[in-house]
Symmetry: C2
Subunit: 327 residues, 2 copies
């Protein structure tokens, strides 16, 4: 079986390149010292996010395709949260020498399908391939504002509507389910145990392992006049607190507008890794795309639910919750 170590970086890259999505804005693509990307409006949105085996994923639960998909989506979502259209990805991949090349090909397929499904026109313009003991994906994503002002966290004003696009709480329920029931008798992550949880729990497992974030809604929100926006990655309340702090306002959620059909309110409020978009809009704006109103911006500080103060529980903390499992 061909592995990264047995055939080497250059041969692996030759097998990966044809599977990677092309970026429409590429001026110089892979193969030189650097790539060159067209940025017509003179500003480029840039972000980097890393997925590390152990704290961020376990090989027993995530297929290579899902890892590629999720690594792309978490970065695309940060670009979208600025009100930008994702244009390109750079992929730094660090993998054990014994990684089968077919796994790396599936990773590339995950990047491609996520871009094609959620951010058409966005592609991979370059990267780096290295060897280490565990698998790490460090992705940089690029976006174009196409003339829009960037949507920051600091623009929410009392009277604004608070709205969200994307699922809340499902991804957090998915990881909890995997830790509780996707394990073997010794408590170690098990691919067999995880597989047995499907199809009953497809929705929460997919939300955790291969989220379908509303990437296109970022630019739509900016066009509709969103005053603040962010990617909900650490739980609704913790991330809303970031908007509240940056904007000098209080965010008040209405429990009746939070969807608790699939997961309980507690998880909707505090589950992590949603990669939904939380935004504030001037009152009276017709909410674009998949955005739905879930609260309002009022005078004060912090985050409340139906006017009641929420405790300071933060949401997902990869340090506190990491159990060291590296499977």
């Amino acid at each position: 079986m061909d592995t990264l170590g047995s055939i080497g970086e250059i041969a692996v890259l030759q097998r990966l390149f044809p599977r990677l999505p092309e970026a429409e804005s590429t001026l110089v693509g892979p193969g030189d010292d650097a790539a060159v990307l067209a940025v017509p409006d003179g500003r480029v949105v840039i972000t980097t996010d890393t997925m590390v085996q152990g704290p961020d994923f376990r090989r027993a639960w995530s297929s290579p395709f899902q890892l590629g998909w999720k690594a792309a989506v978490t970065n695309l979502s940060d670009v979208a949260a600025m009100g930008a259209r994702p244009t390109a990805l750079l992929v730094a991949l660090i993998a054990p020498a014994d990684t089968p090349v077919t796994d790396l090909e599936e990773l590339a397929d995950g990047f491609r399908e996520a871009c094609n499904a959620l951010a058409p026109g966005c592609g991979v313009v370059g990267g780096d391939l290295s060897v280490a003991d565990s698998l790490t994906l460090a992705i940089t994503a690029f976006g174009s504002l196409d003339g829009r002002p960037p949507v920051l966290r600091s623009g929410a004003r009392p009277g604004d509507v608070v709205a969200v696009s994307g699922a809340l709480g499902l991804a957090g329920a998915g990881i909890r389910l995997l830790f509780e029931r996707g394990v073997d008798a010794e408590g170690e992550p098990s691919s067999g145990a995880a597989a047995a949880l499907r199809p009953e729990f497809d929705a929460v497992l997919d939300a955790q392992l291969a989220p379908r974030s509303p990437i296109g809604d970022g630019a739509l929100a900016a066009d509709a006049g969103a005053t603040a926006m962010l990617d909900v990655s650490d739980g609704l309340v913790l991330d809303a607190r970031r908007i509240a702090r940056a904007s000098g306002v209080r965010i008040d959620f209405r429990s009746a507008d939070l969807d608790t059909d699939v997961v309980a309110l507690e998880r909707v409020l505090h589950g992590g890794e949603d990669h939904a978009l939380l935004a504030t809009f001037p009152s009276g704006v017709r909410l674009p795309g998949g955005f739905r109103a879930i609260g309002s911006v009022v005078d004060g500080d912090g985050v409340t639910l139906d006017g009641e103060v929420l405790d300071n529980r933060g949401g997902w903390d990869p340090y506190a919750d990491w159990d060291g499992a590296s499977g």
Copy 2:
């Protein structure tokens, strides 16, 4: 002692931000979902390069300051090799939970001092901090062409002068010295043994651990009409072969013009990690900055020395030469 695990990502970032260099082209800096960078000429040069503990560095030999410096320089050099001026870095840092925060501060100092010394105006605009068992730095660098066409590997033409800026062979001699004499009785990397090699071997150790690459010469070469250019990272001959192949020409080096005062010819030709700039210029061009002529472009293919074919030895291969040491 404060560590990454004990005080957490957010508190660490608050200690690192003030030490990081600001990028003059920053429109939105750290603290939101993504950064926004001004790219006045509508094109952005982008590259990513990773440094992994074990294959790429050993903690016993490299101080945190040197790691930050070298991680910055290897990426800045790839930007320079396109004929661009480096404008910004994104830093994805993955470190063990027990890493002292003071080590991370020294890393940040290394980024800052490298930018200030070699690419003034370039700064860190964002990043990501994660926990894993070993230290990894995944850097993305950005550059502006300021209206110049990018200098690719494919433009060399027979009759062109081959020139280099920066030291050749020193970095390769440095790593060889460390593997031979920077080790303890068991052959493990030793900080004490490495320290004892200074000051006798300062030049080769600095070239390996904290290279001073001629970053500014990249844009100067483009302005002077360089027809091809690359960052010499895998050894002069191997990298010259890349220009020869991409351009459909032969590169002929003149041994009399290769500086063998400090290291032997073999190492000048094949030592890795030089991070010098190798470029071709039209005949008669006054060579800019630190460039010096070392050969010529002729009809044919491959790489020769005084007209004699060189063997196929490639230069530095991190996979073949990695001994697995992770100290």
